[in-house]
Symmetry: C2
Subunit: 352 residues, 2 copies
Amino acid sequence: MEKFNASEHPHLRYNPLKDDWVVVSPHRAKRPWQGQVEKKAVEEVPRHDPKNPLCPRNTRPNGKVNPDYKNTFIFDNDFPALMPDGPDPPKSDDPLFQAAPAHGNCRVICFHPYSDLTLPLMEVDDIRHVIDTWQSEMINLGKVNTWVQVFENRGAVMGCSNPHPHCQVWASTFLPNEPSVKDRTQREFKEKYGLPMLVDYLNKELQKKDERVLLESAHWVWLVPYWATWPFETMLLPRRHVLRLQDLTEDEKKDLCQMMKDLLTIYDNLFEISFPYSMGWHGAPTGKFLEEDCSHWQLHALFYPPLLRSATVKKFMVGYEMLASAQRDMTAEQAATRLRALPRTHYKHQSS
Amino acid sequence: MEKFNASEHPHLRYNPLKDDWVVVSPHRAKRPWQGQVEKKAVEEVPRHDPKNPLCPRNTRPNGKVNPDYKNTFIFDNDFPALMPDGPDPPKSDDPLFQAAPAHGNCRVICFHPYSDLTLPLMEVDDIRHVIDTWQSEMINLGKVNTWVQVFENRGAVMGCSNPHPHCQVWASTFLPNEPSVKDRTQREFKEKYGLPMLVDYLNKELQKKDERVLLESAHWVWLVPYWATWPFETMLLPRRHVLRLQDLTEDEKKDLCQMMKDLLTIYDNLFEISFPYSMGWHGAPTGKFLEEDCSHWQLHALFYPPLLRSATVKKFMVGYEMLASAQRDMTAEQAATRLRALPRTHYKHQSS
Ligand SMILES: O=P(O)(O)O[C@H]1O[C@H](CO)[C@@H](O)[C@H](O)[C@H]1O
Ligand SMILES: O=P(O)(O)O[C@H]1O[C@H](CO)[C@@H](O)[C@H](O)[C@H]1O
């Protein structure tokens, strides 16, 4: 019988963080595409748009005027999904009609006064302001909130409704689904094997070096997880066991600036566009968890880019994916090989 | 303190089938939208396109010629994600690098010879052929496969790569994530409360009639589930306790044709376009499960439409949704009120 070849034969891979499986169908990438083609992202964003509510000195729809900010600028989302106050739903004893309180804060962080500067195009010193802001938001919002989700939606195809580079912080008094599952899986792993899942995982990936590791620095490793779902999904891990973003040391933060710039440059270079994605940080929960043993957690950043074939053809997670199981059209190793081959100089700065 | 009002105040709702929560932020719908606007679906699809590989008598990319079919036409997907044969991945005893065999079949069902006839525009007698084909595919593929997923991706925005109305059947030797979770939650519910979850749920919804029920027929009920995630997500349930699509009686099938036509007409009428969605059927697993007690299952169809505000502005499940929790911008009841107000005559057939 033919020998198994991961880049040829369909198989399942287990995601130990989510406790579920992804269908890997590497041969599927060969099918012709006659479906939807996205608009190419507008490359020429003006540095300052007097009508953009995220730019310095402009007036937002609610009448507030932005300061003449010089690096990051943080404000409360004018249309928050979660709010600190407000009445709670009544208790129900019917298991099929259960509502629960949802409180929290939604904040917006503009990265830089210039609308045309995405993270990979920013100077490392400016990226540093972003990382410091993430830390201070984590600390402040984490005092009363159980979960502080820092995330960036980049690109219109990822639902980003404003081209000015920014990220968001949604903090909540409850532990949302994803971190709640990861809290369980990481706790069970540590109980069973004695060390944190992602610490063990990183050690093993570093031994298998040429398979899925993309970039290594003194304090960070960027890789395609074995169980990646999105075509070019990646994970960024600190080498040290770190529970939360706010625990990063001076050296780790400095190194992170360069790492972020490098990895996002590689992403932009893949299709020579401002690469769309949702990214975010997952670390140990906060609030009352700050007092509890969370040593099963390891801090990590996740990057979920939607594109598959080109700058304009994305992977649709629909139909089978929504109803049955996530499915990918190439292996994690094939994605790693393509990403690893790309230059670390941004295509906009390359002399051609 | 202010009284809780579900259409004003953020809250969580529990999805007992998935055992997770959705964040409901009804006030969010008020925010202005400056983000991506989808292309309006092409309304004028030619009845027969000599270049479309799904039309009767045409040649597919692999050289096979389609028959001059008169109602449904079924064939093996030319680029299947799952295949019946092929080597299996080697066993690994590392919990972080687990692969498993994935076998199965992928089939395509064209609904009708005409490319311009979507389900709501078809005659009920023609819809009947589709339902009969679903049943026969479930029976044939369910003999060796554990799960047979019947699903339709409609519209380019849902990754549908061919405008000729069709659905797909992906059958697998494994139980995918979604049905695997639902198997557990429904089993636990029946053990605890003595009756199938969705049978109990439907009874309760019928008592609360005007809240989320949309349409009732002799054998079927169409409703917005209390825990709906997508803005206009709905569920279709038989009145009787039915395990699988193949168990539907003659009367239930006849009635289902009209119900499908009505509900899909209402969807099309919402924004007066061919309404995009992913839909699919979930019932008890097959293969070896055919011999086991699956009485905790209740057959249901799920409709997941992506649109939120208009024919061209969809709900993006990104960022927070991918990293933390699904979130919706209006309540299930608000969606139900809007859908209930729509006529059952298709906008293309209305005299204006
Ligand atoms: O098979 P199709 O229609 O070409 O492909 C579509 O449906 C599949 C199953 O839901 C998805 O995996 C694809 O991403 C989507 O584009
Ligand atoms: O807050 P924004 O950028 O307007 O909105 C975007 O991000 C949110 C959080 O991921 C999503 O819920 C929205 O669907 C998306 O369009």
